[in-house]
Symmetry: C2
Subunit: 389 residues, 2 copies
């Protein structure tokens, strides 16, 4: 084990103390906010994606993401990568962030080019920049622990040419997530990564759950901008120069045109597939990828069902139904999730349903099958029913 890891192998109590130290002045949160979140249709739409919805509380998921990180970085250090459909709403939701740092990709190219561009942009500005990459549509129950974990990750990332990925301890044999396989833990700190695993079958997921050295890939990463730039030049040799050219044009009059022309030429590939998987294939000692086991109450709210469970866990005991409406009456009904603002909702003899109503659409599905709601959006896309997507 190389010396860089040693300080982070300390027992947990020390790590907790580290959270109280000042945050790293070179830390830049880069938030990926370009997704559609079609599984929250009909509430989520092309111009009102999941991260722009207040699914949990009064703030939207994106606003929560920023608020969670705000104690660690001034507004001027936030960057958001999104698209033209969503940028107007994001500007409205986050008025304190520098508008020029809310960047709309001219075309979706998955996470590798988005993250790479952020690295090249930050490098020009701060050669010691450390990027924190964050999805914008997750829920975190314990923000203090979250920030403490990030501070630990930042320390690992800045201590060398390391890549840190936050791994969520699995609590169920989930088949919808990618997994990180680490070395077998012999301490509470960061663990060298052996490999990344795509979404597993149920049997494998159960093995992963029991094994103890598998973690859910949270999509949250920490690395120095120069580490990331090097990695991109190495693993995406065609795309990296395009991103450097775009970054060089930033703040000039040529930026928009350069961005529009070059970005679509970048490879359409995820950071996992482009960098992390090939890098991890070199073996745990060489890859310099660390998984930081994380226990801050993470939930990606991947479907209406996940949202129902999330709210139900916080709700008072009752029939398990969660109704957001102007009023409601249930008769022989339990464990339903209803969103129908402005309506009086009556449920008679129905259970385990998901019912979501908007001005122009009505979805009725079950807690069992709500993960298929994305297929409704596929159908609407195919039928070119643009007003509904």
């Amino acid at each position: 084990m190389p010396p860089v890891v040693k300080p982070f192998a300390a027992p947990r109590v020390n790590v907790r103390l580290a959270a109280t130290v000042k945050t790293n002045p070179h830390f830049y949160p880069v938030i990926l906010a370009g997704g559609r979140g079609t599984r929250f249709w009909p509430l989520s739409r092309k111009r009102r994606a999941k991260q722009l919805l207040a699914l949990d509380g009064k703030q939207t998921m994106l606003q929560q993401t920023v608020a969670r990180l705000a104690p660690m970085a001034a507004p001027s250090r936030f960057w958001i990568i999104t698209n033209d459909d969503l940028r107007p709403a994001i500007l409205r939701q986050l008025p304190k962030l520098p508008p020029q740092q809310i960047i709309a990709e001219p075309a979706g190219r998955n996470t590798a080019p988005a993250i790479g561009l952020a690295a090249f942009l930050l490098l020009r500005h701060d050669p010691d920049a450390v990027l924190g990459l964050f999805p914008s549509d997750h829920v975190i129950a314990d923000p203090a622990e979250y920030r403490a974990t990030l501070n630990r990750g930042i320390a690992i990332a800045t201590a060398g040419d390391n890549i840190v990925v936050l791994g969520i301890r699995p609590t169920r044999p989930e088949t919808g997530y990618g997994y990180i396989e680490s070395v077998v833990p012999d301490h509470d700190g960061p663990l060298r990564v052996r490999r990344f695993t795509e979404k597993p079958e149920f049997g494998k997921a159960r093995q992963f759950l029991e094994a103890g050295n598998y973690f859910w890939n949270s999509g949250m990463f920490l690395w120095r901008a120069d580490t990331l730039a090097h990695a991109l030049r190495e693993h995406l040799p065609n795309t990296a120069p395009l991103l450097e050219q775009i970054a060089a044009a930033y703040s000039t009059r040529k930026f928009a045109e350069t961005f529009r022309k070059l970005y679509p030429k970048c490879e359409n590939i995820s950071i996992d597939f482009a960098v992390l998987e090939p890098r991890s294939a070199r073996g745990e000692a060489q890859s310099r990828i660390f998984c930081l086991p994380s226990d801050f109450g993470w939930n990606d709210l991947g479907s209406w069902t996940a949202l129902h469970e999330h709210h139900a866990a916080k709700a008072k005991p009752g029939d398990g139904s969660l109704v957001s409406a102007s009023g409601s009456f249930a008769l022989n009904a339990k464990n339903n999730y209803v969103h129908a603002p402005g309506k009086f909702v009556a449920l008679v003899g129905v259970s385990n349903l998901v019912i979501v109503e908007t001005e122009d659409a009505l979805l009725v599905t079950t807690l069992d099958q709500s993960q298929d709601v994305g297929k409704v959006v596929k159908h609407l896309d195919a039928k070119k029913l643009k007003k509904l997507v």
Copy 2:
């Protein structure tokens, strides 16, 4: 068997021929249109009861009732008994009927006073009047056969001091209807009634179905106005004089006041309970009540489920779902009934549901339990949520 019955014991072919003869010039349709039809909530409301909805086709149930009878009686011979909540809508729906014959009860007093009032009103105008009493919220598949049956019934009613009730041949062991027990049929014509039976248990309903001399009480009656007047004076001696006083004031300036003062003093009782049951208890030979077996495709559309079945029977083969919406998409869904005009409706993994949406309310129930929808209205009444009922 007294002689009066003989002519109607003729074989069916003669009876059919009778339908082509001219209708009786003393026939007056009296339509009872004061019900709420709460089982069609949230579509049905206090001011927009079931009979005022176009549940089957473009015309409302009430308009269909009038249209069905129109070949048998001029508009000037129709009378409608309703209430103040519904009268404005009825005036709009039936502009050709004499407005003064659309009568709003000052208080609901069940069918006996309503029917009795009609009898006393008509007697003053036409001593040979024959009343046809009709619910306003049923569906009839074969109007020609319906009118033929009525003509047969009118002939029986006018031939003597007889009471004719149209009995529907049962097709299932229905526990939601009252039954008429007749003598055992030995011909196709009218049958003397032995007794009226309240809604039976399932086991009894099955016996009734198999027995062959039980019929569903359709709520459609035919009798001479004077027969009815005599019966009321005999069976409701306190109420009959009140109704006569009200009828005497009709067309005078005192009518509204007299009606408002006296009608609430009438007994709150159904015609079945007030007249038919005690009369039938005298035995089939004395009661002079005849059941006219009817086969004209009667359906009382008693619930959303009944409406679903009614439409499904007419629909093209498919997944059994009936969706009234601006558009829809179903995935792994079948046999649902959806009414959500103006919405795009997506059904994912749900079956046998009833989903009805209006501007201010949303009902989700099952085809199995939709008969309990009336309990939602009871709840709303109890909570004084007046806008929703």
